[in-house]
């Protein structure tokens, strides 16, 4: 009786502690964050149904740290030709006429002491979906991955020395040493 009580007590204690620890390690992880946007832009229609390549709109991802959100003018490249009109598209056109930028809500936020460079990953052949999830099936964009350091290191550890085709070419050039780009050095991301 007494013994059972003690055992039970310890069991509860352990369970509680475990839950607490799990909760603690989830602090600041916003997986599943899907805020409302000023214009209800459905990626499903654009990237999914119409198969517009990600890099057509997010062209900066090829060259810049930031993937960048396309300027309204880029949207107009198509929407000047498409007659289908919705209130959302109307909003967009207003923005273009007034030359007022659309203020989107940022979904994927990294702490300011982390330096993630889109171009490095895009050029290395990492598919956008690897981190952003199946965007082409999302109506409202949502943070698919935890974006924690452990999660980054997951790839960096497993693939650091198994370069993709682009990597292979570059790595071969860099005096046949392992490719430096997916290293585990702190300064790969923190500086």
């Amino acid at each position: 009786m007494k013994v059972r009580g003690i055992v039970l007590g310890f069991a509860l204690l352990g369970a509680g502690g475990g839950l607490l620890a799990r909760g603690a390690t989830r602090i600041g992880v916003h997986q599943g964050y899907a805020p409302e946007q000023p214009i209800d832009f459905p990626h499903r229609i654009h990237a999914g149904d119409n198969k517009i390549p990600c890099l057509y709109c997010h062209s900066a991802a090829r060259t810049s740290r930031h993937a960048g959100i396309p300027s309204a003018s880029v949207c107009m490249n198509c929407h000047t030709l498409i007659e289908k009109q919705t209130t959302e598209i109307q909003r967009l056109k207003e923005a273009v006429q007034l030359q007022r930028p659309v203020v989107w809500t940022k979904v994927h936020n990294l702490p300011d002491f982390v330096y993630f460079n889109h171009s490095q990953h895009v050029v290395s052949g990492v598919a956008c979906q690897r981190c952003h999830g199946a965007v082409e099936r999302m109506d409202r964009i949502e943070q698919a991955s935890p974006l924690t350091m452990g999660w980054c290191l997951g790839c960096h550890r497993s693939e650091a020395h198994v370069p993709t085709s682009t990597f292979a070419r570059v790595a071969a050039n860099v005096r046949n040493r392992p490719t430096p780009f997916a290293g585990e050095d702190c300064t790969s991301c923190h500086y």
């Binding site: 924690t148 452990g150 980054c152």
Partner: protein
């Protein structure tokens, strides 16, 4: 150390010298109980209130300053690019050192069968606990950002990959060493109190007091069986605690010994620090006991013989410390290393030379008076000496830390450390914390192990 027991004692009959008596007179066991539990049952006197008032004020000051420190950052201290540690780590090492006497007395002396420990071990252990608590403050506040302190504990799972701590860093060793030492000391102290707690439970009149002591004494029934197991457990714990006494300060000393700074980078630090720690620990025990035995009228149980025995330990460890100082200088000269040589010349002639000489005066010269029996048995002398010892030991840490840092390898990086009001305030505040804890202790718990004293009462 065991000589303490064989010394003939003055005052007892001139003809044949019997073994030292560790209690004056032959009080009945009941008398012992009442004497010792009086402080807990009587109302505190004015003296106590005054002391507690002062100490409490210091604690409030500590709280205020630490809060401000967390808000503003450690820029409010006098630290700088040249001297990255000063009062903070000095206090840390100082208090860890103080925390040595307790467990030494109760554990090692228990193993050595030193009877004279019986009436001082309880308060000495309490002092240890409080000192380690004070010491533990500093690693936390000296970073200025306590909310990040958890980084120093290795834990899993963490979302960083996982990212562990640097097991090569002495600071990590400190975390383990000190927390272990604290836990063991606490357990040892509490375990030692259980029979007395039971006594108090039985004496208690008010219901609430009874209730509390009943919980604390864990249903102690004083049966033969309980006692025999109890003895075994204490012995086992003593065996466990003994190596810790030596390990803690050895590890703290590696904070310095493993660095490459002249004045830090030396192999004699572990024994040197342990000796110093026991030295300062006994100094503090002396100070406390001399006050309490006077104010609490416990002269009968804390006799001059006790004080004399401690004076001898002080003399021994003090001389060890002095020897270590000499060795450092010899090594510096013998090594021929320009940086080492410069450092020790600077220690003795540089801007902080006065600290060095104060340290030598207090730590090496003061205890030498204990070669004379009269000195060992003179309460005033003992008291003054014990104070000086602690002043000296504080300055020893200051000299080791600040003087080594302020003039290191590149002269372009040399600087000076000047304490600010916050450095001094926190130093005082922590003393306040220590004393208020001790004052509460002597009110709330038996400051002398009744059951052990009874053991030596009538031999």
């Amino acid at each position: 150390m065991s000589t303490g027991a064989m010394e003939p004692t003055a005052g007892t009959g001139p003809e044949i010298a019997p073994a030292t008596r560790w209690i004056e007179g032959t009080p009945s066991l009941h008398r012992i109980t009442t004497d010792i539990s009086r402080p807990m049952e009587a109302k505190p006197g004015r003296g106590w209130w005054i002391c507690f008032g002062i100490a409490g004020a210091a604690v409030l000051n500590l709280l205020g300053m630490v809060t401000y420190l967390f808000a503003k950052g450690i820029g409010i201290w006098g630290l700088n690019n040249a001297v990255g540690w000063a009062f903070d780590i000095t206090n840390f090492v100082f208090w860890i050192g103080i925390g040595h006497a307790g467990t030494l007395i109760s554990a090692i002396l228990l193993l050595f069968r030193q009877k004279w420990r019986t009436s001082i071990n309880r308060s000495a252990e309490a002092m240890t606990i409080f000192a380690v608590m004070c010491a533990g403050l500093f690693p936390l506040i000296h970073m200025g950002r306590p909310w990040d302190a958890f980084f120093i504990f290795p834990y899993f799972p963490n979302q960083r990959g996982p990212l562990w701590v640097n097991f090569r860093s002495p600071l990590v060793w400190d975390v383990f060493a000190i927390s272990t030492y604290f836990t063991i000391s606490l357990v040892f102290w509490y375990l030692g109190m259980i029979p007395d707690l039971a006594t108090l439970r039985d004496r208690a009149v008010s219901g609430i007091k009874k209730f509390v002591f009943r919980i604390l004494s864990m249903g102690w029934n004083g049966s033969q069986r309980t006692w025999s197991r109890y003895e075994i457990v204490s012995l086992v714990l003593a065996a466990l605690a003994t190596p810790l006494v030596l390990s803690v300060h050895s590890i703290v000393s590696t904070d310095f010994a493993t660095s490459l700074l002249p004045g830090w980078h030396t192999t004699i630090f572990p024994p040197y620090f342990v000796a110093g720690a026991i030295y300062s620990g006994f100094g503090m025990v002396l100070t406390l006991l001399i006050i309490t035995r006077q104010t609490m009228h416990l002269e009968r149980y804390i006799t001059t013989n006790h004080l004399e025995a401690m004076a001898k330990v002080t003399l021994l460890t003090g001389s060890l410390v002095g020897y270590a100082y000499a060795t450092e200088f010899f090594n510096a000269w013998y090594s021929g290393n320009v940086y080492e040589r410069f450092h020790f010349i600077n220690r003795a002639t540089g801007p902080y030379a006065w600290c060095f000489y104060l340290m030598v005066l207090c730590n090496v010269l003061t205890p030498q008076i204990f070669w004379w029996k009269r000195a060992r048995r003179s309460i005033p002398l003992l008291f003054i000496a014990s104070i000086l010892v602690n002043v000296g030991m504080w300055f020893e840490r200051f000299v080791i830390i600040v003087v080594s840092l302020h003039r290191a390898f590149l002269p372009s990086g040399w600087g000076m450390f000047y304490p600010t009001v916050f450095d001094v305030g926190i130093l005082i505040g922590v003393f306040g914390l220590f004393f208020s804890l001790f004052l509460l202790f002597i009110r709330a718990l038996p400051m002398i192990a009744m059951w052990e004293v009874k053991g030596v009462a009538n031999d």
